[in-house]
Amino acid sequence: MALNVNYIARETGLNLKRNLTLTIASILTVVVSLSLVGISFLVRQGITNASGRFRGNIELIVFLEPKIEPAQRAAIGKSLEENPEVKKIFYVNQQQAFEDFKELFKDSPEMIGSVSPAILPASYRVVPENPDFQATRALSQTYGRKAGVREVVSADKTIKALQKITGKINAGVIIAGAVALAAALLLIFNTIRTAMFARRREIEVMKLVGATNWFIRVPFMLEGLIQGLVGGAISVAVLYLYNNYMTTQLVDSDEIQFFQNFLVESPDVLNTGIVLLVVGALVGAVGSGLAVSRFLDV
């Protein structure tokens, strides 16, 4: 059956206008639930960003004896540089180690008070060619036995722990996002169904006058699509406002650099916005289509 574009457009427009109570109710539900989904997505993105930044890529630290001979030190450095398993090294002298320490503990001055440059050992920070557990351990054993080396710390445990933490947080936030999305879909469909219930007589009459299922369904689906898009668009606006507010809040708090790690980039917001629009449009159209069907059986 060829559907008349003209008819569909007019019918949809009139429906939206004349069932204003139901139109507003549906859009409101879409706005509220998709905004929650969007915000939980952005929080997820922020946490992913933050945990990415917390993690370095240095996998091995060769601590040198504080009183090591410069020659011995150079030998170790050379050996490291020539090792095919090693990709890159950085030498961190005692002063730098202290600076690093101060940076790391700038919020805990009592820690800083407890050390001095002379106390902290110099070290080679090593980026292995192959950031694999076995390779890192082999390197660590090789250099741990060398003279002048106080200790080799392979960061594998730390990384594992860090990965576990961020993995857990990530999983938690993904679950929260999925739950929010599922809740949103449920709420929107629920509202559409209730609105359709209020119009069941109308649908029955159309059917009795000889309208085919699709003839009835298409304008309702278009109506749902538009409600979903409008609701989605409004929740994208809510999202931008939220993100702007959070960004100024986070940038403001420059004394606590920690928070800045959670900043979300514009492309992420854009992507989330697109997802919201698509979800809104889809659930609006498909939900309406499904909800109508219940009353088409006349």
């Binding site: 008349n4 009139l14 009459v205």
Partner: protein, 225 residues
């Protein structure tokens, strides 16, 4: 055109609305369906346009057993059957004009056809001035006439009218009956359930009388009682 073979319709709670009813209505006939309240007139009409299905028996419309019609074909059956419902069944979100136009939109009539035919038919039933009103803003009789207009705006093969003059004064009723007669003369089969003794007695057409679901009389050129 319409053939009922031993049709029985039982509603839940053992209400036998139609019992072993058989009849044959030819193309172009005009049939009055009479009988006391609750005797099964509306049920018979609902069976004919497949609003409901019978428990037993066969119903043929335009030569086809409508029980064997697949679901997607039912709309096409209904397009050939105009129906004036006892409770009007107007679309409350549409104006009078839109309600009548809907029956034409459903069969895909182009806009210019709709634009000329709808006002013409509304003029015929005396509602030219009410085109832009919603059903809620009409008197009972006016709503009934919208339902009548919608039922035959698309010139159906069969016109089922369930008490189309129940809420009309005698003069308006006569006007509507003239219209139905004219439609009938163009070849449309008309089945009309009615309680209006004077209409039946004046028109002298075929009368089928129901009593508690049974056809107790089927009389050519009959009277109400």
């Amino acid at each position: 055109m319409i053939k009922l073979e031993n049709v029985t319709k039982v509603y839940k709670g053992d209400v036998v609305a139609l019992k072993d009813a058989s009849c044959n209505i030819d193309k172009g006939e005009f049939v009055f369906l009479v009988g006391p309240s609750g005797s099964g007139k509306s049920t018979m009409i609902r069976l004919l346009n497949k609003q409901e299905g019978p428990q037993a028996g066969r119903i043929y419309v335009a030569g086809k057993d409508i029980a064997e019609l697949s679901a997607w074909k039912v709309p096409f059956l209904r397009r050939n059957i105009g129906c004036v419902f006892q409770d009007y069944k107007l679309l409350s979100n549409k104006t009078v004009y839109e309600n009548v136009a809907f029956a034409l939109e459903v069969i895909g009539r182009p806009k210019h056809v709709i634009k000329t035919q709808v006002p013409a038919i509304l003029e015929l039933v005396g509602l030219a001035k009410k085109q832009r009103n919603y059903p809620e803003e009409l008197s009972g009789g006016e709503q009934q006439r919208v339902s009548i207009a919608r039922a035959f705006v698309n010139r159906p093969l069969i016109l089922l009218a369930d008490e189309p003059t129940g809420n009309l004064d005698p003069n308006t009723s006569v006007g509507i009956m003239r219209l139905l007669d004219r439609i009938n003369r163009t070849g449309t089969t008309v089945v009309m359930a009615t309680h209006d003794r004077s209409i039946v007695d004046t028109m002298r057409r075929r009368v089928i009388e129901l009593d508690r679901g049974t056809i107790i009389r089927d009389q050519a050129r009959g009277v109400y009682e």
